[in-house]
């Protein structure tokens, strides 16, 4: 007991609420608020080491699931993952009582309802403007007021809303800003929850923390209800892997069972939107967009956008697709609007706002402009609208902190074009505890809360995520750098029912194949398979090379010839520099580690990971983790030069990781079209690599050592030895690696599998003719089955290799985007 008290004192020692700010943990008299007691009790029961272990659990979860966000301006085209950072998680949740949450939830639901009604009015009848409740310029000044959507069905329909809240010194929550465009963060909230629940499972249960799953179920039900079809195809439209919250989008698509698509995956024909899939275009009923509305259609909206779908606006106008949020929904995010909301609330809902806005004066009105100019020094000055056409800094400034010339310049700008500015009361945020070196410390916090439109009205997520500033200044108007995030725990008075996203039994219709595979995903899976197999081949070459170098006793005839051939193979596919005078050991090291050589194992693993990152929603956490492991194994610490033995070990370990991936994909991936493309990629690459190995080593004059190497490279030593007591000789070896359909490493085996897989792919033609990939696979299979080892020579092996490459192109032409939609370009503009 005494230990606990000491630990508690250590945690709280020196924790003092900041002057003039509300503290979430501690009342002004220094007592701990009751909802935090169970939390403190649990933490006091753990030593610092134990706490550290718990944090480790949470952090590992964050790292393993690849929860990351992109740092802006940290972009490397060649390695798009370079700018990703693990999501910075604070291990202390924000604990809120059920009672105070009720006010927040009611306030956020009301606000969602209000903004939704306002959006309908702006893109519809325009009563609020007509009756003078809202100046027309507050709408027209927003670059997110999308005129082509005026009057269109669901032009601004709100489906998901987020409010950023801050708690003032008096303990009341204030709305700092509204997110109606494409609110991000639901996925992070979910991830923070999983990470903390993993670290503190008991605490999570005993404190009766409200669960999040029901919210997501409602959100999804809301999207489904927007379509007239019973089982609508719902797409999550992402800007792509370079977006800062791509991880979140991929994660949500997987969690909610939506198709993750980019603009290029969609097309508009006959007034409808379709997804390009391997089985031809399939109708998209509902699109949950994570791109800004303005970027959604290069024809009628922003012509410079490469993220959208030409003709999307027309499809919306015709009512054939529902987009959530409506393309024009961003218009009510403007700060200029804030001051008008109380009156509009009275008009549209006949209610007073439960949660107040931050007091805001739009300087487009003479009286308000005077107020702001009079009290400039005590205000925060911010752009009234998101900037259009660039040229303006979007961050709020505290006018009182500007030096005199800057302040006078600002004053002049407000006087000249007041409509571009708002003045806002400076909010002093509340603080919450953050764990630092054994102690809790107060840091300013804002809270993001989500609401979803559902068939049963607006539902608010019981939780959310909070952003914690590293800056101790609670006046932080908008949080700058050094932001961490944490989970929000809403404490229920009664035990909460555990619940997952699985629908109830009576609502499930049994299906074994889910949806259709978008062409882009098929493309990426195919290449993922090829990169992984190429990596494996490189690693086997390196291992064979190093194994021979290490095997000093053996001076079998032809050894130096074999070494030369192995190096030649590495050089031929860009893994090693080649050239005379370079030691084989050096060539092996380059082939393992040097990303500057595009064929090195490290480079192909990086390509594999990049390809995988684009289809993250289709890969399991375990699979994703393996890429990280592999890349780690092949990354060389600067200045370190591993010995031949160590390099051999590295190649060996990397091969084991690859084997683990193969195992995962064989054992854990559903045999759908996605798996099939991954497998086709692997089989084609393995077939090609094996042909190349055979061409290099299996010649009539080949020394035994070369044939031995060929057996090593194709992992067929053991099989060979179990069949033949003599050493390696040409025809049996050739038969085993080329033609034996029972050897899973042989070319024949790959071709067999390819024929089977390709026969299962959807066919577009209905004229009874075989499509090109099937025709080629059949031809290959026939050639292979009728071949004899005695007649195989370099030429005939090369023919197999070429046919396999032809098959690869045929699959690509038929199933991938490159043919369905090669690059699109803009028509040249004319004046």
């Amino acid at each position: 007991m005494r230990v606990r008290t000491e630990r508690r004192n250590a945690l709280l020692g020196g924790y003092r609420p900041l002057a003039g700010a509300y503290d979430e943990l501690m009342a002004p008299d220094g007592t701990v608020r009751p909802q935090w007691e169970p939390f403190l009790a649990e933490w006091s029961s753990l030593s610092q080491d134990e706490l550290g272990q718990r944090f480790g659990l949470a952090d590992r979860h964050v790292r393993d699931t690849g929860v990351s966000y992109r740092v802006h301006g940290d972009l490397d085209e060649r390695d798009p993952l370079a700018g990703e950072r693990p999501w910075p998680l604070s291990h202390v949740p924000l604990v809120l009582t059920g009672a105070e949450w009720q006010t927040i939830a009611a306030g956020v639901a009301q606000r969602a309802q209000l903004l939704s009604a306002l959006l309908d009015d702006i893109y519809g009848k325009g009563a609020t403007i007509g009756e003078g409740l809202l100046p027309a310029a507050v709408v027209s000044g927003s670059p997110d007021y999308l005129r082509p959507l005026q009057g269109a069905p669901s032009g601004g329909a709100l489906q998901l809303y987020a409010a950023d809240l801050g708690r003032g010194p008096d303990g009341r929550w204030w709305v700092l800003g509204d997110r109606t465009q494409a609110p991000s963060g639901t996925g992070y909230a979910l991830e923070n929850r999983l990470a903390l629940a993993r670290a503190f499972p008991d605490l999570f249960r005993t404190m009766n923390v409200e669960r999040l799953a029901a919210f997501f179920q409602s959100f999804r039900a809301g999207l489904v209800s927007r379509s007239r079809r019973v089982e609508p195809r719902i797409c999550l439209l992402t800007p792509g892997p370079l977006n800062e919250s791509y991880f979140e989008q991929a994660y949500l698509a997987r969690y909610l069972g939506f198709l993750l698509v980019e603009g290029g995956d969609l097309m508009m024909r006959d007034g409808r939107v379709h997804v390009r899939t391997i089985a031809g275009p399939k109708r998209a009923d509902v699109i949950w967009r994570r791109i800004d509305g303005d970027f959604a259609d290069p024809l009628e909206l922003n012509a410079r956008s490469a993220l959208g779908v030409a003709g999307l606006v027309e499809a919306v106008r015709q009512g054939n697709v529902h987009i959530a949020n409506g393309l024009g929904s961003g218009v009510v995010e403007s700060r200029a609007l804030l001051g008008f909301l109380p009156r509009i609330g009275q008009k549209l809902l006949d209610e007073a706002l439960i949660l107040p806005n931050v007091a805001t004066w739009w300087c487009g009105q003479a009286r308000e402009r005077e107020i702001v100019l009079d009290r400039l020094d005590e205000m925060s000055i911010a752009p009234a609208f998101r900037s259009a056409g660039g040229g303006r800094d979007g961050q709020p400034v505290l006018a009182g902190e500007l030096d005199r010339p800057e302040r006078e310049a600002l004053r002049a700008r407000i006087a000249a074009r007041g409509m571009d500015y708002v003045g806002q009361e400076v909010v002093r945020l509340s603080t919450m505890p953050v764990y630092e070196n054994g102690h809790l410390r107060p840091h300013p916090v804002t809270l993001r809360v989500f609401a979803a439109a559902t068939p049963d009205g607006w539902k608010v997520m019981p939780g959310g995520f909070c952003r914690i500033s590293d800056d101790a200044d609670a006046r932080a108007v908008i949080m700058r750098s050094g932001v961490r995030s944490s989970d929000v725990w809403v404490i229920s008075d009664a035990p909460v029912e555990p619940m997952s996203l699985l629908p109830t039994a009576d609502r499930i219709s049994i299906r074994r194949v889910v949806g259709t595979l978008p062409s882009r995903a098929a493309d990426n899976l195919f290449w993922l398979g090829r990169y992984l197999e190429r990596t494996e081949a490189t690693l086997r070459l390196v291992r064979a090379l190093l194994g021979r170098l290490l095997d000093a006793d053996d001076a079998s005839p032809g050894r130096s010839d074999t070494l030369r051939r192995l190096v030649n193979l590495l050089t031929a596919w860009g893994a090693a520099p080649g050239g005379k005078g370079q030691s084989p050991a050096l060539q092996a090291a380059v082939a393992l580690h040097d990303v500057e050589h595009y064929g090195s194992a490290h480079a192909t693993v990086r390509e594999a990971r990049r390809t995988a990152s684009v289809i993250r929603e289709r890969l399991s956490v375990d699979a994703w983790r393996l890429f990280g492991d592999l890349q780690g194994q092949l990354t060389l610490e600067p200045g370190l030069q591993p010995s031949e033995g160590e390099a051999y070990e590295i190649a060996d370990r990397a091969l084991k990781s690859l084997a683990a991936f193969s195992g995962l994909s064989q054992e854990n991936m559903v045999r759908g079209a996605g798996w099939r493309f991954l497998d086709i990629g692997r089989r084609i690459e393995r077939g090609i690599a094996t042909c190349r190995f055979a061409r290099h080593f299996a010649e009539a004059t080949a020394p035994t050592d070369g044939l031995d190497a060929l057996l090593d490279l194709t992992d067929s030593q053991i099989t060979y030895r179990s069949r033949y007591l003599l050493g390696a000789s040409l025809q049996p070896v050739l038969d085993l690696v080329m033609l034996d359909p029972y050897n899973p490493r042989s070319v024949a085996f790959q071709i067999d599998r390819l024929e089977t897989e390709i026969a299962q792919l959807p066919s577009l033609a209905d004229d009874g003719m075989l499509e090109a990939p099937r025709r080629l696979a059949l031809k290959l299979a026939t050639e292979c089955r009728t071949a004899e080892a005695g007649r195989l020579d370099r030429t005939s092996i090369l023919l197999f290799e070429q046919l396999l490459m032809g098959l690869s192109s045929a699959v690509a032409d038929r199933y991938f985007l490159q043919s369905a939609a090669p690059e699109t370009s803009r028509m040249m503009g004319i004046a």
Binding site: P135, A136, A137, S140, G364, G389, R417, M419, S825
Partner: protein, 292 residues
């Protein structure tokens, strides 16, 4: 004045284009002292789909889809337009500019012709401080708005060099301003940026201007060009008035309006996406023939 207008745009592609979707804003408007007797838009090859719409600002727009491989695309617009605008107001009698700015901002209407759409930066007309400072010289306190704007127009005409080689459609406004070079489109954008910077509602217009061949020469077939100018809202009584900074004239019956918007991006005559990697060549021929 009655005009026959013919506007032919041709695209030649280095490789067959299997699919294209275009948005055309070529058919002239029939309002604001202008009426369209007849007009037609002929596209070859024949589109599989054609949708005619009126855009937010009241411009006629046509979306076409071509779904068969083609190496040439031809879009031909023909129209007969009667132009009979009310005489422009006497500049010295218009409201003073501060008053116009305040009235525009306070406008309680989001209707397509409301000045509130033209007060803020738009895609191709950002707020550029030096341009605003340049414009401000013509706007001393309480000067009648059209008088001040006419002077600004005159200054642009004399300070800037018309140079068809100096800019492309994509030349940023600030660059064209700094170089004091450009074409009608640049001059219009610059003037709009200046006016909006002062809080005045300024719009962009695309269309044609009647050209008179040099004395003793015959009009050359296809030698005319499409044109662009500015419209300024001068208060509720006067409404929108056209100002052509390329020619330093207040718009009357020599101009034919095709489309009206915030900047070129709202009215671009032909916009599209096409599938295919090849290069493209564009040809334009315009004839504006007064027939009475």
């Amino acid at each position: 004045m009655i005009y026959d207008v013919r506007h032919v745009t041709t695209y030649g592609y280095s490789r067959p284009v299997p699919f294209a979707r275009c948005l055309l804003r070529l058919l002239p408007r029939g309002d604001g002292g202008q009426s369209v007797q007849k007009s037609e838009l002929v596209v070859t090859p024949r589109p599989v789909e054609r949708i005619d719409n009126i855009c937010f600002f009241g411009n006629r727009m046509t979306t076409i889809t071509i779904a068969k491989p083609h190496r040439d695309l031809k879009v031909e617009m023909r129209a007969r337009v009667t132009v009979n605008r009310p005489a422009p107001p006497f500049p010295g009698l218009t409201r003073h500019w501060e008053e116009v700015a305040a009235l525009a901002l306070a406008s309680g209407s989001l209707a397509p012709d409301s000045p509130v759409h033209h007060l803020f930066p738009s895609r191709l007309v950002p707020q550029v401080e030096p341009v605003v400072a340049y414009a401000r010289e013509s706007f001393p306190p309480r000067r009648p708005v059209l008088e001040a704007a006419s002077e600004l127009m005159r200054r642009i005409r004399s300070d800037f060099t018309y140079d068809p080689d100096a800019t492309e459609v994509s030349t940023p406004l600030a660059e064209a301003f700094a170089n004091r070079h450009g074409v009608c489109q640049d001059f219009a954008h610059i003037m709009i940026a200046g006016l909006r910077g002062l809080g005045l509602p300024a719009a962009y217009v695309s269309g044609y201007i009647r050209t008179i061949p040099p004395e003793g020469q015959k009009r050359l077939e296809g030698a005319d060009a499409s044109h662009a100018w500015v419209m300024l809202w001068c208060g509720p009584e006067t409404g929108w008035v056209g100002l052509d900074p390329t020619n330093d004239i207040i718009v009357a019956d020599d101009h034919i309006v095709t489309a009206f918007g915030r900047d070129y991006a709202d009215v671009s005559p032909l916009d599209g996406v096409l599938v295919g990697p090849g290069s493209q060549k564009i040809g334009i021929a315009v004839d504006v023939i007064p027939i009475g």
